[in-house]
Amino acid sequence: MKYLMKKTITLILTLLTVTFLTFIAFEVIPGDSATLSLGTDATPEQIEALREQLGYNKPVLVRYKDWLCDAVKGDFGTSMNYNLPVGQLIKERLPVTITLAVLSILLTVVCAVPLGIVTTRKEHSRAEGIHQFFIHLGMAIPPFFLGILITFIFGLTLRWFVPGTELSFSENPSQFIYYMIYPAIAVAVPKVAMMTKFLRSSIKRQLGLDYVRTAYSKGGTNRHVMYRHVLKNALIPVITFFAMIVAEVFAGSIVVEQVFNLPGLGRLLVTAIGNRDYPIVQAIVLYIAALVILMNFIVDVLYQYIDPRVKAE
């Protein structure tokens, strides 16, 4: 219980810091949205009136409090460019980003765990160097370049999918998910390599421990020792690493959405930065950061159930 309390307090403090950072970051920009939306022709009185109306004349902390209270309710203000509530714009695009992220994470786990196990079995073998080479190669590929290659190979040459099709989840779920597999591969490959590398070193660390020797001396086969004994312990640190992968997947999907022309948060964010549409930028940064922080929190809490040693500390 104490562990849970401590983690919850950290969660709240982290969220407060992140919200404050994103809020204050846009306070230091010269010129506010009042001057921006009225243009250069506006009289000082007009600007002053709009500033008053938008609440720019209150102290910073008061405005932070107001902004935070609205944000918690899902109100992030109005987009300057689209003239729509930011919350609505995000809600429309969230399914794309979430689907992409979930698919990428699934792909990562499904590929990385078997790869990590299979490639670690034969230690000191000649294949070791080759494994290492391919892991580093996987980590070196920028997701967007992989996306371009995938578009060319599977989209333009093999014609397995039509690049740039606009699909929506509600209209055609199966088609939508099928189309999303390709960007998900582009996002997942570097993460598969990262996770395989991490799992390999985790398994290797376990293989040197006494209990493994004991298991072997009791007559356990390689297979038995690996699946019954080593894997359970080796996967525990991978869970913490997994939280990092989640953050990386969101980062990767921001760029890959651009490659595949997906109407997700990433594309909204990039367009908004180009248009200096600050409420959108603020809201998306907050959304993704909060998602990642919450994932971290859930992983931390799960961790103590999986590994009781954590609670004892």
Partner: protein, 259 residues
């Protein structure tokens, strides 16, 4: 001299090749990277243009050499900012410990929980786009990782006997930090410099690909890839040279520092 493994040798060869070609590119490129030629648009790789030409008839090899230069300068400057500031923060907080250390590390955890490219986009949206702004943006987001690495080393080293001895001999804290402990953190710091460089190359390429990094006419590998994507049907080879330059660079450095 310690023995290098086969993978490290491959890494070293890749790094030398890429750095060599880029150094040559500082003084000599086969063609003027920005010279357009209406007669040689979208040419496939051939003897005169080993990587082909782009939609304006510019030689892709020359542009990649020039773009790699921009990318490497940005990545080096970024790592320099991150490493210098991060190391100093990490060294001082790790050595002295206390409340400041605790607060900074908590803050560090918070920053680490935001995906780095998101943070870079946030900084860019505040500063605006451009070559120098992207250096600042990426430099800022690399500070925490260096601070973390240096700090953990300093925490481990500060209780060792040689530090106590130096203290007894009357060495000042600053002298101990920079002359006694710092050299001992180098074996950890150097690989993380290479990893940081790799991350900076990838981040710069992503940002420029999104159109939020280096602006034309400055060539950049990420920007070239974004242009190449529009001509994937007519000139699929366009994307290969810049893409593989990024991959080989990152692969080279990461194989080189792999233990």
């Amino acid at each position: 001299m310690k023995k290098y493994t086969a993978t490290q040798k491959i890494g070293l060869a890749l790094v030398l090749m890429i750095v060599g070609v880029t150094l040559v590119g500082l003084f000599y490129t086969p063609y003027d990277p920005n010279k357009m030629n209406g007669l040689s648009k979208n040419m496939a790789p051939c003897l005169e243009h080993p990587f082909g030409t782009d939609n304006f008839g510019r030689d892709i090899l020359s542009r990649v050499m020039d773009g790699a230069k921009t990318t490497f300068i940005i990545a080096s400057a970024t790592v320099l900012i991150g490493a210098v500031v991060g190391t100093i923060i990490g060294a001082i907080t790790g050595y002295f410990g206390g409340v400041v250390d605790e607060c900074l590390m908590r803050f560090n955890d918070v920053v680490a929980s935001i995906p780095s490219i998101l943070l870079a986009l946030l900084v860019v949206s505040i500063l605006g786009v451009g070559k120098y702004k992207i250096i600042v943006a990426l430099g800022i987001i690399f500070i925490p990782s260096f601070a973390r690495v240096t700090r953990s080393e300093f925490v481990a080293q500060r209780q060792l006997d040689y530090v106590k001895n130096a203290r007894l001999m009357g060495a000042s804290h600053l002298r101990i930090i920079f002359l006694h402990i710092m050299p001992n953190t180098l074996p950890i710091l150097l690989p993380s410099l290479a990893i940081g460089f790799n991350n900076a190359v990838l981040a710069e390429a992503s940002m420029s690909y999104l159109g939020l990094g280096v602006q034309p006419p400055d060539p950049s590998l990420g920007r070239m890839l974004s242009d190449a994507q529009s001509f994937l049907m007519t000139a699929p080879w366009y994307c290969l040279a810049p893409g593989f330059t990024i991959i080989l660079t990152v692969l080279g450095f990461s194989l080189l520092v792999e233990r």
